[in-house]
Subunit: 251 residues, 2 copies
Amino acid sequence: MENGTLAYIDYVAKVKDTGEVLEATREADAKNLGVFDPTERYSPRLVAVGEGWVLKGLDEALAKASVGEKLTVEVPPEKGFGVRDPSKVKLINEKKFGEKAHDLFVGAEVEVDGKVGTVRYMGSGRVQVDFNHRLAGKTIVYELEVVRTVTEPLEMAKALLGRRLFIPEDKLNLNIEGDIATIVLPEEAFLLEGLQFVKRAVSSDLFKFLKALKAVRFIEEYKSPEAEKPKEASHPAGAEPQEAAPPTEKA
Amino acid sequence: MENGTLAYIDYVAKVKDTGEVLEATREADAKNLGVFDPTERYSPRLVAVGEGWVLKGLDEALAKASVGEKLTVEVPPEKGFGVRDPSKVKLINEKKFGEKAHDLFVGAEVEVDGKVGTVRYMGSGRVQVDFNHRLAGKTIVYELEVVRTVTEPLEMAKALLGRRLFIPEDKLNLNIEGDIATIVLPEEAFLLEGLQFVKRAVSSDLFKFLKALKAVRFIEEYKSPEAEKPKEASHPAGAEPQEAAPPTEKA
């Protein structure tokens, strides 16, 4: 697949030497491998070939793969989570942990001076903490399938939008007319944290992958509280007076 | 003027007993009275009669005033900044201010436990701080003129929008078609702090004062970086570049 291709891939990712399952995109795989998480939404993962959305080694393999292909990709540390850096393993005096020193155990995750590490060894009043990434030095194996590429502009736009804006697709009103993409946001999105940055990032993605696009338009519509009420006018004439009407409604 | 009327008023507001000028909406008045501030935009103030946008006493006077009328309004403390509450005057030990105690002086504004007050007296290691509003107990005098009311829906909408969104009017693209108001925000507004809350408040204002309105639609448009590049193709071959002419002046 060419660089810049949008594709959906399914895969199981494992640590080569331990067989630990890191990720599975298919529900059946997750269940078979005993890593099923009911809060997870299992579906093929969107990737943009060569864009660095995934580990470098995986990105390179995708560039050589074709749609429908099933392949196994081995990603060595230097193209994955990095090699282990021995200088990131530190001996720390137990006193530094204060009262928390009593709760330490080998394997515990600790934060020291803003850095997260794992306790490897304890003794003689000192604690060995490894600040390398948990997967540094590990080779990652992907058993993957390129499900399909996304080439239709509207579907591309939806896929890109869904990646940034975590709103169910059926609530997202997106269409492309001529060279303008219009996105009507649902009211539940209006107060999302960082919404304005998401809009800018989505626009930037759309312009990158849909070269013909000239503008991305976001629409937010507020409805009149009056318009949203059930229509009183449909009550038969002579109906009871509308009690408890807020003062602003007095004519 | 009826409650709910939108009107522009010009005024000079003074403290009755000292003559201190608090506010002037006309540039000429500000200059004559020696309170001119070049960073201020002098123009009549938008008010909504009876909506509590101004001091209660002023609001009540506006309800009885007519367009074009010039009047003097005296607002007593109980309909203005409140009466003075003697229990809000506290004696505080100097030590409470720590090192800052050395910088205190009578008249200084200080913050104590999150409340702002004014130092009234200092001595014997104690500081008397008045936590009443600076204008509590004062009668405020307005010399005012009701310039005009705003009744045309589009102008009403623009006035309401301008009150919440501090963007020059010529940059605000606002129109009303049928029962839908559409506001196209300029790019410089996209990252305004609290933008989403401003939108909600503006919508709420519009629905309140323009009863016929059913929806308020905000549009934010991002332009493709490609589309914004100068179009090389449109320059006639061999023509001189159009120098220094601001784009709006090209006929």
